[in-house]
Each structure stands twice: as structure tokens, then as C-alpha cells.
């Protein structure tokens, strides 16, 4: 038999075998595979060098640090993966809740890997796994069945230990001063943007114009919005006392509700409850640019003497600030959104940068507990500075444990 014929025969036998097998298995319950033992019986294995060898030693463990939904399956690579015939391109992972099956495919991974994480398990069940090596021609070889295992839930995620330590350090340094600090002991540096609030409100009063206040464009899930609402409380007190108009356009309904609450409270606290009306806070639209268009309209038509933009802003920041500038309003902005700070810094009179926004409510309230928390933040910063300096020194001398631990 010459070479060409030999190849042809092998090829044909492969094709018939493959077609036949898959045809038989269409009705069967188990996923179609080439049964290795059957092949050996019929002595075909010598004739079909393309058939891969199965993966070995399948070994399943509980995935650590999870809520009991995940198992890690490991196996020894098929001898034909990267070596031998080098014909394996993929491993398919099959799972069953009973040793007898039915086994269902739950995923696959490319050749060269020998681990798979199944994250769709349930703690109440026991699972059995098989791994199938596959070639590009869809030949398959199946491993044995793993021992039954149920996933276990852990009570502590060990990968988050460094985070736990960080949380403890930060929370305890803030918490300590929050409860211990006394007002007279506390020095808090001046924050220019906040000092300017009186000036802004005063100017609006003199000119007989209103004040515009925007607590950002995001919802209450953002702490910047809450910081903005807290500052609104202090400003509303001032506008109530001076009987200056206050206009708070918002772009979220929940924020509208919260702003109405705090403005009403502020007006009531300084004895001007009668001057409050809910429409001071008006909802425009949730849409970022629809909101910007609406506020631009308000700016041009009502010409407020002072504008406050305190909260989370995106691209609309410059649209608002430049329009505000064009009507000669005094503008005070503040955000922790670092991509928008440059615009506020260039277009507004005063800007609260990052952390200053969150410090504002404490600063304005002068409440000892609140001010204490600022001192706590400073301690946390000092610790961070120490860590970074220490880390750089270690790193420069080729010691890497700190950066590895982080």
C-alpha cells in the first residue's frame, strides 16, 4: 500500500467513525465522545493517531473566600496538549449532580490550562466533574469522574485582609477624634471657598437677585451629592435670614426630596418657615445635557448673583460655569471629580478641591464632633505618607515585601 492510499484509508476510517459515533449518540443521554476503551477493543487506536489522550487525575476543591457558590477543578493536562500529538485545543468541563449523570457542559478553557473555576454551584448539592480534551476535528477524550464535592461558604475573605487592616486604621483614626476631640483644641485651616460664601450671599442680597445652588448631577448613592446637600443646609439658613431668593435645580428626584427636606428645615430653624416653598427646589430632568440646557436657561433669564456648584459634576461643569461667568455671577464650585476640577478652577471664583468638599459641612457647622473627624482624616493621611515613604525606601533597597503585601 503506498503512502497516499494509507493516509486516505486512515482519513476515511476517521470520518466514518466520527459520523457513526455522533449519529449513535444523538439519541443517547451522554454527551457524544469517542469511547477510548471501545476503540482499544477494536484495535483502531493504532490506526487513528489523531485521537487525543484524556486528561488525568481530575481533582476538585472548594474555591476559597467565597459564599459557597464556586468549586475549583484541576486536572493533569492531556499528554497530547502541547506535547505528544499536540492536537488538543480545548478542554470542556462537564458536571453532574449524580455520579451516574447526566453530565452537562458548564464551560471550557483553551489548551495549556489545567484549572477551571465553576461559579454556578449551590451549597446544597454534591457535584461530580469530568474533563474532556478536544481536538480541532472535534475528537474527544474524557477523563474519569471526580469525587463528589459540595462547595463551602467562608466567613472571612482572606484576600481582603490588607483591606480590613486599612479600614481599621482609617476608621479608628477618624472615629477616635470624632468622639474625643474638644472644640477649643482644634485648629482648622481656612478654606477660601467657604469663607467666600458670606460674601456671595451678601452680594446677592445687595443686588436683590437670587442664588443658584446645584448639588451635582448625580443621585444620593454618591457621597459627593450628600456633601453638597449638607452645604445647601448652611446656605439656605443664610438666604432665609437675608430673605434672598434661593433656586435649587436638581437632576434626580431623590435628591429633590432630600434638598426640599433640608431647605425646609433650615428655613424653619431660623424662624422663616413661612418663606419656604417647595418649588425652590425644582426637578428638571435626569438627562445630563437636558439639565445643562435647562440650567443655562435659568442662568440667562433669572440672572442669579451667585452660583454654587457643589457635588459631582461631569462635562456640564464648564457649560454651567462659563454661562455663569457671562452673567457676571460670583461662582463657588467644589467637586472631587478630578477630571472636572480644571474647569471649575479656571472658570469659577473659588473652588473646593476634592477632600475640601467633604470637609465643608464640618467646617461650616463648627460642630466639635464633625471637626474632630477632620483631624482624624489628617492622622490617616499622615499614616499614608509614612507608608509611601517607608515603601519607597524599602523598594529602593530592593526589599519588596511591603509592595507585595499590598
Amino acid at each position: 500500500m503506498d503512502m497516499t492510499k494509507k493516509v486516505l484509508v486512515v482519513f476515511l476510517s476517521i470520518v466514518t467513525l466520527f459520523l457513526g459515533n455522533s449519529a449513535i449518540c444523538q439519541d443517547a443521554e451522554i454527551i457524544p465522545v469517542v469511547d477510548e476503551t471501545a476503540l482499544q477493543d477494536s484495535n483502531l487506536i493504532e490506526e487513528i493517531p489523531l485521537l487525543p489522550q484524556p486528561p488525568g487525575n481530575i481533582y476538585v476543591t472548594d474555591s476559597p473566600n467565597d459564599g459557597g457558590k464556586s468549586l475549583t477543578i484541576k486536572w493533569e493536562k492531556s499528554p497530547d496538549d502541547g506535547d505528544g500529538l499536540n492536537s488538543v485545543v480545548e478542554y470542556e468541563i462537564l458536571r453532574a449532580e449524580d455520579m451516574k449523570g447526566p453530565f452537562e457542559s458548564i464551560g471550557s478553557t483553551t489548551a495549556g490550562k489545567h484549572e477551571f473555576i465553576d461559579s454556578t454551584c449551590n451549597r446544597k448539592n454534591t457535584y461530580y466533574f469530568k474533563v474532556v480534551a478536544k481536538t480541532p476535528e472535534k475528537f474527544k477524550a474524557e477523563s474519569g469522574i471526580s469525587e463528589g464535592i459540595s462547595p463551602v461558604a467562608q466567613w472571612f475573605d482572606r484576600t481582603r485582609l490588607s483591606m480590613l487592616i486599612a479600614v481599621i486604621i482609617v476608621v479608628s483614626s477618624i472615629g477616635f477624634f470624632l468622639f474625643r476631640a474638644k472644640k477649643e483644641e482644634l485648629y482648622i485651616r481656612k478654606i477660601a471657598g467657604l469663607e467666600a460664601i458670606d460674601e456671595a450671599v451678601g452680594r446677592a442680597t445687595e443686588m436683590g437677585r437670587s442664588i443658584l445652588y446645584i448639588p451635582g448631577i448625580m443621585d444620593m448613592d454618591d457621597i459627593q451629592t450628600i456633601a453638597g446637600i449638607a452645604i445647601l443646609g448652611s446656605i439656605a439658613k443664610k438666604t432665609a435670614q437675608y430673605e434672598t431668593g434661593l433656586n435649587v435645580p436638581v437632576s434626580r428626584s431623590v435628591v429633590m426630596t432630600a434638598c426640599q427636606e433640608i431647605v425646609k428645615e433650615s428655613y424653619t430653624n431660623v424662624g422663616h418657615a413661612d418663606a419656604y416653598y417647595p418649588e425652590m427646589v425644582r426637578y428638571l430632568t435626569d438627562d445630563q445635557f437636558g439639565f445643562a440646557a435647562g440650567v443655562d436657561g435659568i442662568l440667562l433669564r433669572e440672572k442669579p448673583a451667585a452660583c454654587f456648584y457643589l457635588g459631582k459634576f461631569y462635562a456640564e461643569s464648564l457649560i454651567l460655569a462659563e454661562t455663569g461667568f457671562s452673567i457676571q455671577a460670583i461662582q463657588i464650585a467644589g467637586t472631587a471629580e478630578s477630571s472636572q476640577l480644571p474647569f471649575f478652577v479656571t472658570a469659577c471664583d473659588y473652588t473646593l478641591i476634592g477632600e475640601e468638599l467633604f470637609a465643608a459641612s464640618a467646617y461650616l457647622s463648627q460642630d466639635p464632633k464633625m471637626l474632630g473627624s477632620l483631624k482624624g482624616q489628617d492622622i490617616a493621611k499622615a499614616i499614608i505618607i509614612f507608608f509611601i515613604t517607608f515603601g519607597i525606601i524599602l523598594e529602593s533597597f530592593g526589599i519588596h515585601w511591603l509592595s507585595n503585601w499590598l
Partner: protein
Amino acid sequence: MTGSVDITQFFGVWVSAILTLCIFSFLYKDNPLYKFAEHLFVGISAGYWFCFYFHNHIKPKLFGSLAKIPEDAYYIVYIIPLGLGIMMLLRLVPKLSWMSRWPISFIVGTFAGLNLINYLQSNVLDQIKPTISPVTGFNVDSISNLILAIGVLTGIIYFFFSAEHKGTIGIAAKIGIWFLMVAFGASFGYTVMARISLLIGRMQFLIFDWILYSKNLLSF
């Protein structure tokens, strides 16, 4: 080009172009065209988001989950957001309006807890790690690393609230603000690009999608 004109497309392009020009007219000064576009924009977009939330949150997440209660008792927890949502609406009843504080407190509490953790992770720990880079001599990498470290450290010092910005701290804070200024300048410079890109996009629409499209249609 075929003889049949897609009326919907034609109408759409013209409306888009006219509204585009209405908004641009704002650059000259406030005028009735802008006022018209602005009010239309606020109305349409408010309606848009209302429907969007209804179809993407209320319908699948709330109604969808409540419907599953007969199969799986777990979904009974969705009674909570239903209750809190209704409490939110009770603001419409003046006597019960205080109840809206419950859902707001729920939201604030949840995200206070979540943000406390998430920001410490992504903004502190994940930022400290890359700042710790070796400074091993007089070469570009080391000097750059050193500048980065100095910038981060002095920048943090700028934010000190309880120490007066005097003496060493004063100098450090001053250097810190310089770094912040460079960062702002750089971000601004970078932004100029993006903003022009947006204008280019709009102009490409006006020139190619509107004028040339209409010209082709008319000349046919």
C-alpha cells in the same frame, strides 16, 4: 441613488439639523429658538428617563422578581424595595411626607457603607501601591518616580486641615498645590482635544449628513 426617498429618514435628518442649529444659536445670545429647543429638550428627556427606568428597573427587577415568589420564596425580599418605593411616593400626602426619609436613609446607609470600602480600596490602597516605586540613582526612571512620589506626598499634605500651612508643612503644601495646578493644566490641555472632537462630530453631521444628503436628494 434610488428614486424612493425614505420620508422618515428625511424628516429625522431635518429635525436633527434644525434642533442642532437652535442649540447653537445660544452662542450668539438667548433667543426664542434656543428657548424652544431648551424646553423641548427638558420635557423630552425627562419623559425619556422616566420610561427608561420603568422598562429597565421597575418592570424586570421589581415586577419580574415579585412574579417569581410562587416558585421561589426568596424573592419575597423584593417586598422591601416595593415598600420603600411606595414610602417615597407618600411625599405627595403632606401628613405622611416624613415617611420618605426611610427610603432615603436606606439609600444613604447602603452607599455610605459601600463607598467607605470601595474608595479605600480603589483610591487609597490601589493608588499607594504604584506610588511605591524604587529610586535607585540618577536616571530618567528614578527621577520620574521621585517626582511622582514627591507630588503625591506634598499633594496629600496640601489637604491637611488641622495643621496651619506654615514652616515645613507650609512649603510642602505649596509644592503640593503646584502639582495640583500642573495636573489641572494637563487635564485641561488634554480636554481641549476631546471638546473639539465633539464639535467636529457635530459639524460632520451638519456638512455631510444634512447638507450633502439634502443636496443629493434635491438634485436627483
